[in-house]
């Protein structure tokens, strides 16, 4: 049976060149980067080279990159680190309702610590309106954190416009670029952000390697105190092979990004065009301002999980988009925020493409998916329309 991986927003396979670059740091160059003898110095040099490549991917300076272990860590670091560093200036933070849980839950944690948080609404495409940002700003606002691109609905936010508004008021801007960095061009100077989160496994690097870009001169309270690693801002012996892998993946991505975009965009458009031919299927997210390899839908009358299972039985691996729906059987806060009713939100499916996705794969998908929808609708208790139904929603909405 064919195996077609359409869940690239969840993670990606390691690029073979990345694995090759990492291997010596598991074997020969195992030294602690703080050690002053040769194996340690080799490891130190590799980290600093990786820092340069990682910075170049987002047009930053090497010294503005702090390596972390995950996008979630970087997001926690950004929110808590900036909140604590600037709490004497103000205690108000602005995020959107469509943030990743590592941002939303950090914001909720900070609320418990006495900070005030505004959760901005989005429109039906998932876009934050910059004028809403402007209206939400108070004299107490110290940080605005808006996700760059949604992994769930693919929408790309107007970060540069939001930053422009924030900068006029001297407010720090963070963006979670986990889903965007490596999939679209990301330039911290063009976006004019002070902090940016990104993760290696989103661009064919290893899991366990991520970074927080912190603009030079921006004060931040470390999440992890200890040694002098990462300039004293993130203690702990470095995961050298993973960092090397991130650097290599960043270098390859910078080289191949346009080729990847050109490859996945028509395939994604084929999925969207074909899937929307089926009745009662809604494209979620913005039709144009979306990630190039990202197609997401809500299919009426059937559950996302049922579709995923039947797709997996046909060798197609995809996602329902949110841990809320896949693990907690709740409605996704992102889908609720874009106005999808609770009963429809259960029918969410997300297909994300990568450089290994072929036209043949998409042809197979385009044949298979409509058949699965038909089959599930035949056995759906709602096939003839929705009855009164209500499911518990996640609590992201404020």
């Amino acid at each position: 049976m064919k195996k077609i991986y359409l869940d690239h927003v969840a993670t990606n396979p390691l690029h073979p060149e990345v694995l090759d670059a990492m291997m010596p740091y598991f074997k020969e160059h195992y030294g602690n980067p703080l050690s002053l003898y040769e194996p340690g110095m080799k490891a130190r040099e590799a980290i600093e080279n990786a820092r340069v490549s990682t910075a170049e991917l987002i047009n930053a300076k090497a010294r503005e990159i702090i390596f972390t272990a995950s996008g979630a860590e970087s997001n926690n670091f950004a929110l808590k680190g900036i909140a604590y560093a600037f709490q004497n200036k103000g205690k108000h933070i602005i995020v959107s309702k469509v943030e990743h849980h590592s941002v939303l839950n950090s914001a909720r944690f900070l609320e418990k610590q006495g900070f005030a948080v505004t959760y901005l609404p989005v429109d039906n495409y998932g876009l934050v309106n910059p004028s809403d940002v402007e209206k939400a700003i108070t004299d107490e606002t110290i940080l605005i954190s808006i996700i760059h691109a949604s992994p769930e609905i693919g929408t790309i936010q107007p970060i540069a416009e939001i930053s422009r508004i924030a900068k006029e008021k001297g407010i720090i801007v963070h963006t979670d670029s986990v889903a965007s960095a490596g999939n679209i061009p990301v330039d911290v100077l063009e976006l004019n952000v002070d902090l940016m989160t990104f993760a290696a496994h989103q661009f064919y690097g290893p899991k366990g390697a991520a970074a927080l870009y912190v603009r030079e001169g921006t004060r931040i309270v470390p999440l992890i105190y200890g040694g002098i690693q990462e300039g004293g801002r993130r203690a702990g012996t470095e995961n050298v092979p993973a960092i090397v892998g991130m650097g290599k993946a960043a270098e390859i991505t910078k080289r191949d990004l346009q080729k990847r975009i050109d490859h996945v965009t028509p395939l994604r458009d084929s999925i969207i065009g074909n899937t929307l031919k089926t009745d009662k299927v809604i494209l979620t997210g913005h039709p144009e301002k979306r990630l190039p390899g990202h197609a997401s839908f809500v299919v009426e009358y059937i559950e996302g999980e049922a579709m995923l299972l039947m797709l997996a039985a046909k060798g197609i691996y995809s996602a329902s988009g949110s841990a809320c729906s896949s693990k907690a059987l709740k409605s996704s806060p992102v889908l609720i925020s874009i106005g999808i009713p609770v009963h429809l939100a259960q029918g969410s499916v997300v297909f994300t493409l990568g450089e290994g996705t072929t036209g043949e794969d998409i042809n197979y998908f385009n044949e298979t998916f409509p058949q699965i929808i038909s089959r599930l609708r035949e056995i759906s208790p709602y096939a003839k329309g929705w009855e009164e139904t209500e499911a518990p929603a996640c609590t992201a909405k404020k």
Partner: protein, 99 residues
């Protein structure tokens, strides 16, 4: 910050300034802990010329003992500390070019 702590230290190397000084270079290591203050000074002193002044912004109390001590050991001149609202500003004059 409990600046009183600085005053209570029995450290005859400490000098307090009533006004901030002009500096040729500044490094902000607020929220960084030991030993980042010393490592940063080492790096930054290399970047300035003999006779120039480096200011170090830190909120790390340990710096009150460590920075004057570091200056004494390395032969640089510790010019003093200015207490800002929530951090210290240390001033160091580089003495020898070879550092």
């Amino acid at each position: 910050m409990a600046f009183a702590k600085a005053r209570q230290l029995n450290n005859n190397r400490l000098k307090f300034l009533n006004e901030p000084m002009e500096a040729d270079a500044e490094t902000d290591i607020i929220y960084m802990m030991c030993p980042m203050h010393l490592l940063t000074i080492e790096d930054k002193v290399k970047e300035i010329k003999a006779g120039q002044i480096l200011s170090i912004l830190t909120d790390y109390d340990g710096a009150l003992e460590d920075i004057p001590e570091w200056c004494a050991k390395t032969g640089n001149e510790f010019l003093g500390i200015y207490e800002d609202a929530d951090h210290y500003k240390f001033y160091i004059k580089k003495i020898k070019e070879s550092q």
